[in-house]
């Protein structure tokens, strides 16, 4: 048994009161504990942004890397030590802007890790510029005359890129979020959760109340193994006004990247002895 408090760290968290990041962190702690994963056997990899500071506020191994690159780092960690539970986290700018290619490639690779995007639809740490999920027309510090671009749909990208677990959570529904994070970590393959959340300081438009009025859990009869249904559900909300489905959109069991590597059948790379001897290979050069 692991108690969620084991994941607590004494720290001075610098998030604003009311920030959605708190909910994700609590969900993550509770989920890891409920799955019986010990803090020293788990790694949280992040990029740059307010949410990417999470490794500093949690008692687990952390890698707080550079902007947009949480997934490549997490990929290296997981392939080197497949016995670790690896979670990558970051914001919408980190994952859908500068790091979008890594996100799509990670979906297609189906490496066994969890990716949580704290999607507040604004750049918070850099004090309020438009992000890839900011609505068209939104006035931000970088778009004083209104954002000229349409927002992207991360769930559509994830499903069409080959992710095997795709969900949307909401920071205002901790019970559901916890369940989603737990399922994502337990999932064998690349699990992705887009977590809608307010930015109480820089996103005045999409407040917690705004979301509360619109979110709606996906019907229990949704067949999440059906890709077409998952895609049409993902198309249901485009970032503007309207009902926002939350829950698991898509989930299938596919072989993971590591399943195709016989190198890992005898254990994690990090446990292997460094006793390579290329003498026989050298003979080929004679």
């Amino acid at each position: 048994m692991v108690d969620a408090s084991e994941y607590n760290k004494k720290c001075d968290c610098d998030w604003c009161p009311g920030c959605g990041n708190f909910s994700v962190m609590v969900a993550l702690k509770n989920s890891l504990a409920r799955l019986g994963i010990k803090p020293h056997e788990s790694v949280l990899v992040s990029g740059i942004g307010c949410s990417s500071k999470t490794p500093h506020w949690m008692n687990m191994y952390g890698f707080h890397g550079i902007h947009g690159r949480a997934l490549p780092i997490a990929t290296g960690v997981k392939l080197a030590n497949s016995e670790l539970t690896v979670v990558a986290a970051g914001g919408d700018g980190d994952g859908y802007g500068i790091g979008l290619n890594h996100f799509m490639q990670s979906c297609k690779r189906n490496i066994n890790l969890t990716y949580i995007v704290h999607n507040n639809r604004i750049y918070g740490l850099t004090t309020g510029q438009a992000s890839p999920t900011t609505n068209k027309g939104t006035i931000t510090r970088s778009t004083p005359f209104g954002n000229p671009e349409e927002p992207i749909n991360p769930l559509l990208i994830a499903i069409s890129s080959g992710a095997t677990f795709v969900a949307r959570g909401f920071s205002g529904n901790l019970a559901q979020l916890q369940e989603l994070v737990k399922e994502a970590i337990a999932h064998k393959g690349f699990a992705f959760i887009d977590v809608l959340m307010p930015c109480v300081t820089f996103n005045r438009m999409n407040s917690i109340e705004w979301y509360r009025e619109r979110v709606s859990p996906i019907n229990s009869d949704h067949d999440f193994s059906d890709k077409e249904k998952a895609l049409s559900l993902a198309l249901k909300w485009n970032g503007e006004d309207g009902e926002i489905p939350t829950g698991i959109f898509y989930k299938i069991d596919n072989p993971t990247y590591s399943d195709g590597l016989p190198q890992l059948s005898s254990g994690a790379l990090v446990k292997k002895k460094l006793d390579a001897d290329v003498s026989d290979v050298l003979k080929e050069f004679m």
Binding site: F63, V278, L282
Partner: protein, 576 residues
């Protein structure tokens, strides 16, 4: 003649490289020195490809004058005829190229394609030319045949076709009673066979032998053959090769794998290194040991993808924002590629810093002979690693006298910490206070004290003192050594001072002592601005008397160095 300089040229897709390799291996098995250098444009078919095989008893590099030219098209003759030596012979197929005659060059028309077709496949026409080459020099076919058997081992029929093609080529020349008087004495001696290996193969083998368990890369000439070689050996040696979506992912995955506790490497060329620079800084700030191979080609931008030069030295030495320790090693030959890659892992892990192995197209993609590669010469030394339990309670960045902190591997009990690109305290928690910043930067730079002690001095070849010291670094050593030998025969007293470890710069006082033994110093490097010369001046506070800078994408030929030295000694114009 004491050497054979042979070249086969034709359009891409004509089997030029495999033919050149077969000849190279034939001579390396006969115990001679071989340098196989290939030129090709960046395209899949057409253009002009060539493979140059320089054979001798002790030469190290390429040579200008050609003794044998196998021309598979007319273009090849146009491009190379001016390089023919006085006794040189051009072999061509009159069915493909109309009969040619030159006043001062011997030509040997042979029905290559017709003979190959008779033997079973027109594709074996190059092998007819190989058989002809053997006859010109007077070598029996057994060695060539054994190489053919190995190269085509998977297809018995192709072996038969090629062996009979070689025989036909051999007989055609014997019938005509033509011969080339070269390597006669050299071939009489019974010498042990040598290994024939490319720089990139040697780097890959060095990495595998060093226990590299994770290799991530994005394809880029001239580094791609490392990816190919590593991928082919991953299952046999139990490591993972990941072709990533770009070089950014490659270096970050490498960092992730190293953080998780395995030896990890990536390789690229200048353009890819550009994308890696932010990751390079992350490795430095998070003190994650990684090895990066950068194989240079002429830039800027796409530049000349399939050609060579040494113009990334300043870039890789100063890449990424801020200030941090890194090591730049420029292997000077195939042996170095093997041993220095192994050293790179040891240095990276002992000092928890990025180590850059800086090679170039000439070294990475050329084939050279080595007597042996000793797998036991360089052991594995991983430095301070805590993989099961941490005795420092997660102080991954513990302040120590040496500046090196215990490297705690995720999974270790009591070792929880954050690795980060932010300035941080001993636990990896963000700390931008003035006091911490100074302490942490001092800690990281404290490693320099012991690191500096393991940086070897440049090696001197030829005369230890004398009229001229030829200064070079990396692959230029090969041509410099051949030039030195030539100059010595001409009665000049010349030494070669070759730098392999460039960053941190070797102890300046000791280096100056070495350089003082020469009356004149000449810098030789393959770039426009004299990049190493700049670092040389900056670190040593002395200058050279002259310099030879080449930046046309072609290797520096020994002949060019010889001319430079002669002109400097005869008081020629100083363009330095």
């Amino acid at each position: 003649m004491t050497n054979l300089n042979w070249l086969i040229g034709g359009p891409a897709g004509a089997g030029i490289k495999v033919t050149g390799l077969i000849l190279s291996k034939t001579f390396s098995r006969l115990g001679l020195n071989v340098f196989g250098y290939t030129e090709y444009p960046s395209l899949a078919r057409g253009g002009h490809n060539n493979f140059n095989v320089h054979v001798s008893k002790n030469k190290k590099s390429i040579a200008k004058k050609l003794d044998v030219l196998i021309a598979l098209d007319k273009n090849t003759i146009e491009l190379h005829k001016d390089k023919m030596s006085s006794s040189g012979i051009i072999i061509y197929d009159p069915a493909k190229i109309e009969n040619i005659e030159f006043p001062n060059i011997q030509t040997l028309p042979l029905p290559l394609k017709e003979v190959a077709t008779e033997c079973g496949s027109a594709l074996a026409q190059n092998t007819v030319a190989l058989g002809a080459t053997m006859a010109l020099i007077g070598i029996e076919l057994d060695t060539l045949n054994s190489v053919i058997e190995n190269v085509f081992s998977k297809k018995a029929k192709i072996v038969d076709v090629n062996i009979s093609a070689a025989k036909k080529g051999y007989e055609l020349v014997k019938e005509k009673n033509i011969s080339l008087n070269c390597l006669t004495d050299e071939l009489k001696e019974k010498i042990e066979p040598k290994l024939l290996i490319s720089g990139n193969e040697a780097i890959s083998l060095g990495a595998i032998q060093a226990g590299c368990k994770f290799y991530a890369a994005y394809p880029m000439t001239p580094a791609s053959s490392i990816l190919h070689f590593m991928a082919g050996k991953a299952r046999e040696f139990d490591f993972i090769v990941k072709q990533t979506e770009d070089e950014i992912a490659a270096i970050n995955a490498t960092i992730g794998a190293s953080y998780a506790g395995v030896r990890a490497m990536t390789a690229t060329s200048g353009g890819g290194f550009c994308l890696m620079t932010e990751g390079l800084g992350l490795a430095a700030e998070s003190e994650t040991p990684i090895v990066i191979v950068n194989a240079m080609r002429p830039g800027p931008s796409t530049g000349m993808p399939t050609w060579t030069d040494q113009s990334d030295l300043r870039f890789v030495s100063h890449a990424s924002q801020g200030e941090f320790l890194s090591v730049v090693i420029a292997p000077c030959d195939m042996k170095d590629c093997f041993y220095e890659t192994m050293n790179a892992f040891n240095i990276a892990e002992n000092y928890q810093i990025p180590v850059i192995v800086l090679t170039d197209k000439l070294l990475s993609e050329s084939y050279g002979t080595v007597d042996e590669l000793d797998v036991n010469r360089i052991g594995i030394d991983r430095g301070v690693i805590e993989s099961t339990t941490s005795s420092y309670g997660g102080k991954r960045y513990l302040f120590t006298d040496t500046g090196v902190s215990p490297r705690i591997i995720p999974g270790a009990v009591d070792g929880i910490h954050v690795a980060t690109g932010n300035e941080h305290d001993e636990y990896g928690e963000i700390d931008a206070s003035s006091e911490n910043r100074v302490k942490m930067q001092d800690k990281r730079y404290r490693k320099l004290e012991s690191l500096q002690k393991i940086i070897p001095l440049p090696k001197v070849y030829g005369s230890e003192s004398g009229e001229v010291g030829i200064i070079c670094w990396g692959s230029t050593k090969l041509s410099a050594l051949d030039a030195q030998e030539k100059l010595e025969k001409l009665g000049y007293n010349v030494g070669v001072v070759c730098f392999k470890y460039i960053l941190p710069f070797p102890d300046s006082e000791d280096v100056r002592k070495i350089l003082k033994r020469f009356n004149k110093l000449i810098m030789v490097e393959a770039n426009y601005t004299g990049q190493f010369l700049g670092m040389f001046r900056e670190n040593l506070l002395i200058d050279v008397d002259d310099k030879l800078l080449k930046y046309d994408g072609r290797p520096i030929y020994p002949e060019e160095i010889v001319e430079k030295v002669k002109s400097v000694l005869s008081g020629g114009e100083n363009n330095g």
